[in-house]
Symmetry: C2
Subunit: 203 residues, 2 copies
DNA sequence: TTGCTCCTCACGTCACGTGAGGTGGC
DNA sequence: TTGCTCCTCACGTCACGTGAGGTGGC
């Protein structure tokens, strides 16, 4: 539904300010497609359309949109956001607590995964040729015995983590970049596409 | 493609052991649908089919499947796993490092999200009626000023986290359960379905 | 006339889950 | 004959991304 009044045809009253999708996208950092999507599912619908059928968001619409964006930032699903905004959530505290539980859970998994990956990196350096078969053998050993690390290995592991995140020198960064460039030059188009897709999802 | 020999029709040689999808699913903890999927995309295809067209996995197939499962446990995508298993990965160390970077990134996001959710819980307790509007106002305040916490609030926050994860007493757990039961009794079928879906994805 | 923004389909994503409808061996 | 396992479609998931093909105002 939604009011289909042409905003250009307002009568005596001063016309209230409205926003187009593009303007809102620029202002909120959301994409136009995202605004379309929220409209499609009825989560945030513009109250008006102009004579050409273009969406026109009122101030109230913009406010709702900001709430949606804020709630997304807290990790709620669009369904849950709809419940909250329409005041149909039964127990807000419980909802937040469940959300927290989920995040704690993911956090714990990610930490274990990080440690195991860091350990793999350390072991790969110990290997003479870090090939795929070497990696596989390594992982089978790791999953089999759940290897306990020596203090030296744990140090190396922490060092790895530091290097992976913290500031590298200009030279190191350039070297890594050169290496990646050389690698990419040998990739098939589909492999490159795949890598780009993964990078997009990360940001 | 794939060899379409009937395993029941082996000649003089002792028939090698093979597994059905159901047996493998039970043994590996994967679902039958997952095995079908890996077959569909060519990641792990059974070498044989019996006369009725049923999949028959040889020992080599099972070994490959275990590698797939192991690599999944390290967070690699099915495409990456295919590269690794077919030894088509260009730089194994770089692949592992990228994987580690991604995990570190997710980890950092999750930590921030956890802190903000815990803070919301604390604030909800300060509010007299923890309703959806109260939650929204709270979040707007939080995103606006990026509120700095007092030492007392930080303590409460840590306490929240502890309660959310660590061992609660039997009484507390029972009470929470009763509460959830009561809440569920008021849910619409679609809301229940939604909650179940979320729970499935978590495990 | 040329750009720019806007519109509505409609398919693709990732790794499967979930029926639907049917077959084959014990 | 009844269960059980197996089979192949084929749609659904979640929150959009990405064209495709077209319209309207400056």
């Amino acid at each position: 539904v939604g009011v289909e009044v042409d905003v250009d045809e307002f009568g005596g009253d001063a016309p209230a300010a409205t926003w187009s999708v593009g303007e809102l996208a620029a202002a909120t950092g959301l994409t136009v497609r995202t605004l379309h999507h929220y409209d499609e599912i009825g989560l945030a619908t513009p109250s008006l359309r102009n004579h050409a059928g273009h969406r026109r968001y009122t101030l109230a619409d913009v406010r709702r949109l900001h709430r949606v964006a804020a709630l997304r930032g807290f990790g709620f699903s669009l369904t849950e956001i709809a419940w909250l905004l329409d005041d149909r959530a039964l127990d807000v505290r419980e909802l937040v607590r469940q959300q927290l539980d989920q995040v704690e859970d993911r956090l714990a998994r990610s930490e274990r995964l990080r440690d195991r990956l860091a350990a793999v990196l350390v072991q790969l350096d110990h290997a003479e040729a870090p090939s795929a078969p070497a990696l596989l053998q390594l992982m089978e050993e790791m999953t089999a015995v759940e290897h306990t690390y020596t203090p030296e290995e744990l140090d190396e592991l922490a060092e790895r983590r530091r290097q992976a995140t913290a500031g590298l020198t200009e030279d190191q960064l350039r070297e890594m970049n050169d290496h990646r460039q050389a690698m990419r030059a040998q990739l098939t188009p589909e492999q490159i596409a795949e890598m780009n897709r993964r990078r997009m999802r990360r940001s």
